[in-house]
């Protein structure tokens, strides 16, 4: 059993149009830039995948990563908590032009919905958003004298994840705060594709230090020289 694939193009070769795509990262921290750019390359060459529903905390920054996917016209819908950034042009322009849909979800609810998707919990109750616009139309229920909003799990067809170390079974560690949504998304997607800064041999990750167990991972590609969205943005790179 070896989940390693040879290159980025292979890693993203079978992603179809119209799917729900989770993308790890919080801003640039943990953003799997090289996987995203490989997907953009494929879209430019083949027209696929388009019409994507992208799930991320944000909606891209500058002209790289998710912003570049939006610029390229691959994204029909964003599910996120905070579609603003230092340079939010890509999403903002499309959104104000009515060319991209937005489902705005409070950040903790977004995390918990994704966690529920991976954990087989179809719905849960949360105090978050009760009494606000973002709870409009959602069922509520009272427990112990407090009213809570019912939220549904969130799953995806594919997750793109950036890890620090991976072993061939897909056990993963992350680097610092780049962990954020990635362990949750790895569990909530049918197919989880990982770019790891280094692939180590089996046994190369202490079982106590594994953050994402390999059961949640399907495919791994090594990207030793991964770039940071924030750095690319500051360099003014435009990928799309």
């Amino acid at each position: 059993m070896d989940k390693t694939v040879a290159d980025l193009a292979t890693a993203v070769a079978d992603i179809e149009s119209g799917i729900a795509l989770m993308v790890g990262g919080f801003g640039g921290s943990g953003a799997p830039i090289e996987l995203i750019h490989a997907l953009i390359d494929r879209f430019k060459a083949t027209g696929t995948p388009g019409n994507l529903t992208v799930i991320n905390n944000n909606a891209g920054n500058g002209r790289v990563g998710i912003a570049a996917m939006i610029d390229a016209g691959m994204v029909a819908r964003m599910i996120c908590s905070f579609p603003r950034s230092a340079d939010p042009r890509a999403f903002t322009e499309k959104y104000l032009a009515g060319e991209i849909e937005l489902e705005l979800v409070p950040q903790g609810t977004l995390a918990e919905r994704i966690r529920a998707g991976g954990a087989g919990i179809p719905a849960f109750y949360t105090p978050t958003s009760y009494g606000t616009n973002l709870a409009d139309g959602k069922p509520t229920a009272e427990f112990d004298g407090h009213v809570y909003v019912q939220e549904r799990w969130l799953k995806a067809d594919v997750a793109l994840i950036k890890a620090e170390l991976a072993d061939p079974l897909g056990n993963l560690t992350y680097r610092k705060a780049a962990r954020n949504f990635s362990p949750l998304m790895a569990a909530a997607a049918t197919t989880t594709i990982v770019q790891a800064s280094r692939i180590v041999e089996l046994g190369g990750i202490d079982p106590e230090h594994v953050v994402t167990p390999g059961i949640f991972v399907d495919r791994i590609v090594e990207v030793a020289d991964a770039r940071q969205e924030e750095a690319l943005m500051r360099e003014g790179v435009a990928y799309a």
């Binding site: 059993m1 966690r115 998707g117 991976g118 954990a119 087989g120 919990i121 072993d167 061939p168 079974l169 056990n171 569990a187 041999e201 089996l202 046994g203 990750i205 079982p207 106590e208 594994v210 167990p213 390999g214 059961i215 949640f216």
Partner: protein, 223 residues
Amino acid sequence: MSQKLSNAQIAWRAAQDITDGAYVNLGIGFPEMVAKFQPPGRQAIFHTENGVLNFGEAPADGEEDWDLINAGKKAITLKPGAAFFHHADSFAMVRGGHLDVAILGAYEVAENGDLANWSTGPKGVPAVGGAMDLVHGAKRVAVITDHMTKDGRPKLVKHCTLPLTGVGCVTRVYTSLAVIDIEDARFVLREKLPGLSLTDLQAVTGAELVVTGDIADLNCPEI
């Protein structure tokens, strides 16, 4: 019914259907035996409810580390590429559909896939453990069992009479006499012991055995 498979042979047969790299949970007791019979060249990755993936065989006597046990509280060892995690993450793997196969024992299996394997009734101290979780979420939920109870009653039945573990959850049953799939709430016979007639098998089965295609011989090595 003089001839039947031993428990080891039932476990061997179930092991043949586990593919390389499959994530597998083996229920405590008899199902644990399945791990011994993986075909050469295939390595399943075993999950245990108490938070370990990719564990291996029991350690030698005296080499036990009692912080490293399986759901049956037996000492285990680790294979390279193991991982530890807490109980909520462990059952996220179960309930979230991340296991490829769960193999469980049974008191009764009904033709609609209902399973009773946790309680023989109101007497004594009830204990459920992870059984009710394991029947949900694994892509395949298989049962290994003797075809009949010790006193000769069918364990494959029309309706379970014992308290249920799960509703409509079992997809395949490996018994001492046959391999049976559950499809559209019916027992579909896939394999039976070569010397056993369909009539005799039906006679010890508590619900109709449906035949939808070839019935293969259930051949197991002497173990």
